[in-house]
């Protein structure tokens, strides 16, 4: 058996003069959770739509589960499931009716379908709600049904396009838990798109960072982080209530210290290099009678990775349809989530 679930070669999608997907060549291994990380409008959804045969590439080719996405779209469809940004279900139908309808479209025999629906509902703790109309559900409940709907044909490959978008933290973690469980138990290959660094970090085996339609970096989460920091760099955050100028200047004068920033009267952030760096810093502070009340070793986040690689922060990019004005400041994330 081939160990590659998805392979794309120079995959490109143009919308008039906008390159939504720009010569993407990736390989997704069987059984892995592959993250596509990037701001809204970076081309994640378009890439997913091409890979699940909803859109045709302008250029390049791709195989999914060993089938060509253009020439063998029917075959591809049999092997995939899609959880898209918009929930695929009918509010006026009950949870069971929804699952049944989609199951029937895959020609699953009646008895088998009944059992599968029952099992899936059980996995997400929704058996009690089987005969209730989906429209009466909370967003979190709906998303649970939406995810098991995509699993009704027991796909080899599951596409998850922003699966936790608009969910509260609790529902988000439930869905993530469930995704991980399915991945482990069924060995389902998953492609997950997200603009949330935390989510990619939590779920994905490998992450492809996508920016303006291009894959700009692709590796495991820890390797990506290492790209920013180098192996022997440490960043520590310290809280020193009796912080003085002497302390800071003494730390700065250490040879191992590369950078020091002071965020307020009592907090400093120190970036240092070498094995001894940590000890040196603490010794220096103690010598100046500084009192350490809080210390935290800061690992670079994926956010730092994104910044490092693309040279700009994670922010919405003007897409093919929605023109989102560039926004800075704290409201940015909130707005992009609402969309």
């Amino acid at each position: 058996m081939d160990a590659i679930a998805i392979k794309t070669v120079g995959l490109t999608k143009k919308f008039k003069d906008l390159m939504a997907v720009d010569h993407v060549s990736i390989e997704v291994k069987k059984g892995e959770i592959f993250g596509l990380l990037g701001p809204n409008g970076a081309g994640k959804t378009t890439l997913i739509r091409i890979l699940c045969t909803l859109a045709q590439p302008t250029e390049g080719s791709a195989t999914v589960a060993g089938y060509d996405i253009v020439k063998e779209e029917g075959k591809v469809r049999e092997h995939i499931g899609l959880v898209s940004e918009k929930m695929i279900m009918y509010d006026q139908l009950t949870a069971k009716e929804n699952l049944k309808l989609f199951g029937r479209l895959y020609d699953i025999p009646k008895n088998q379908l009944e059992n599968r629906i029952y099992d899936l509902l059980k996995v997400v703790n929704m058996e009690k709600w089987a005969d209730k109309q989906v429209g009466t559900f909370s967003t979190g409940m709906k998303q649970r049904i939406n995810v098991i709907r995509a699993l009704i044909n027991q796909p080899d490959i599951l596409y998850l396009d922003e699966p936790t978008l608009g969910l509260d933290p609790q529902s988000s973690s439930e869905i993530r838990e469930f995704i991980r469980k399915i991945n482990l138990e069924n060995k389902t290959t998953m492609i997950l798109t997200t603009h949330m660094m935390v989510e990619a970090d939590l779920l994905c085996n490998r992450i492809g960072i996508i920016d303006y339609g291009k894959i700009v970096a692709l590796d495991t989460s820890s390797n990506l982080k290492r790209m920013v920091s180098g192996t022997d760099t440490t960043v520590v955050e310290l809280e020193i209530p009796n912080l003085t100028i002497e302390i800071t200047s003494h730390i700065k004068s250490l040879t191992s210290v590369q950078n020091l920033t002071q965020s307020d009267d009592t907090h400093i952030k120190v970036q240092a290099k070498g094995d001894e760096a940590f000890d040196d810093i603490i010794d220096t502070i103690r010598k100046d009678h500084g009192k350490i009340t809080f210390i935290k070793n800061l690992e670079p986040s994926l956010e730092d990775v994104f910044l490092h690689i693309t040279g700009h922060e994670v922010r919405d990019q003007p897409g093919n349809k929605v023109k989102i004005p560039m926004q800075h400041g704290p409201r940015r994330m909130v707005e992009s989530r609402i969309r």
Binding site: C52, Q56, K86, I88, Q92, L93
Partner: protein
């Protein structure tokens, strides 16, 4: 063969899903029944017929000084007591009638001329003028003909009495009017077939783009597109559901027309259903065509409305096509609704059989097929952007 069966099976499921959704939507269900009732009641009661005229306020201004004027008024009252057509009042002269019509308290006036008696005695015709309210042309027209008929009859009676003649001597020709089926069709009989074919068209034209664009907007269409079902199943299933809905409305109108409004079907009821079906069929392609051009539900609905209204009024549903200017008649002849309405009318009102409506049926079939041939590839292409 296996593929066709599979496509059909899938389309049945999709159709079933759409209908299930419809039955869960109470408002939509109520409107499904209510809309035809409104339609029928509206067109049924808005247009007056000679039988619907009762107690219409009519004033008589008797300017005549002699006895014949009074005699005429008396006999008019006598006739009116039997028929109850008018609510008779007195008026002094033309200006009085004019004022009352302007105020809206009168629908018509009858003026007996100053020289009525003397003219009659001199062997001349006595002049009677009927004045009607021109702001209501339909009612005016009906009143004019009713009143003229009453006055003519009174004239005949006068001749018989005054000159001692028999009825056949005064009115030697006996004319009888009638169509090719017995009885006088009322306005409903004329309207019902048109309304039926129109409502069925409307159901499809608004229903199909809604059904598809709505799912496109909501993203649920992706769920079907990403599954291994044939695209044909989706169009077919959606269309089937709309056909069922349209036919259902057609049947509701038919039942209402028969039970509530006394419409009689002279032709075969199966033929009526067949025409209803062809009517729907001829619009399926148009519906799909518009859906594949528009990505948003709003746009689809807007285009539908723009097309529907002219079609409604130009297809002879409300007004006979023969009354229209020549240019409009040509347009009317290109619209499928015209043919559906004509065929339906011929079957329902004058009991026509298939050979008599062959041209109409053929046009509907060809129109439907041509549009489908154009629409389906476009729809399939539109699904994959």
């Amino acid at each position: 063969m296996v593929n066709i069966k599979r496509t059909l099976r899938h389309s049945m499921w999709i159709c079933g899903k759409d209908l299930l959704e419809l039955t869960r939507n109470r408002l939509a269900l109520v409107l499904l029944v209510l809309m035809p009732i409104f339609m029928m009641a509206m067109v049924g009661f808005i247009f007056p017929s000679s039988t619907s005229i009762k107690n219409t306020p009519v004033a008589v201004a008797n300017l005549d000084k002699g006895i014949y004027g009074n005699m005429f008024v008396l006999s008019l009252e006598q006739v009116n007591n039997q028929t109850g057509i008018m609510d008779l009042r007195n008026a002094t002269d033309f200006d009085d009638i004019k004022m009352q019509i302007q105020e809206g308290t009168l629908s018509a006036g009858i003026i007996i001329s100053e020289n009525f008696s003397s003219d009659l005695m001199a062997g001349k015709q006595g002049n009677i003028t009927i004045i009607t309210d021109q702001t209501n042309p339909q009612l005016s027209l009906t009143l004019q003909s009713v009143l003229s008929e009453v006055i003519k009859q009174l004239g005949v009676l006068y001749s018989i009495n005054a000159f001692n003649l028999t009825y056949s001597q005064v009115v030697p020709y006996n004319t009888q009017t009638g169509g090719i089926i017995p009885g006088n069709p009322n306005y409903f009989q004329f309207m019902a077939p048109g309304i039926m074919s129109m409502v069925v068209m409307m159901a499809l034209m608004t229903g199909l783009p809604h059904a598809i664009s709505y799912e496109k907007d909501k993203g649920t269409l992706d769920g079907m597109l990403v599954s291994p079902v044939d695209r044909m199943s989706i169009i077919l299933g959606k269309t089937l559901a709309q056909i069922v809905r349209g036919m259902l409305q057609g049947v509701i109108i038919l039942l209402l027309a028969i039970l509530l409004f006394g419409v009689h079907i002279y032709g075969s009821i199966w033929l009526v259903f067949f025409i209803l079906f062809l009517d729907v069929f001829s619009f399926v392609g148009l519906g799909i065509l518009i859906t594949s051009f528009t990505s948003k539900e709003e746009n689809a609905t807007m285009i539908m409305m723009t097309l529907m209204f002219p079609m409604m009024f130009m297809s002879g549903v409300f007004f006979p096509i023969q009354q229209m200017p020549l240019a409009m008649q040509y347009i009317a002849k290109a619209l499928p609704l015209t043919y559906a309405t004509t065929a339906m009318r011929k079957v329902m009102v004058i009991g026509a059989d298939i050979p008599a409506i062959w041209n109409e049926l053929l046009f509907l079939i060809i129109f439907g097929i041509v549009l489908l041939i154009v629409a389906i590839p476009l729809f399939k292409r539109g699904m994959r952007r």
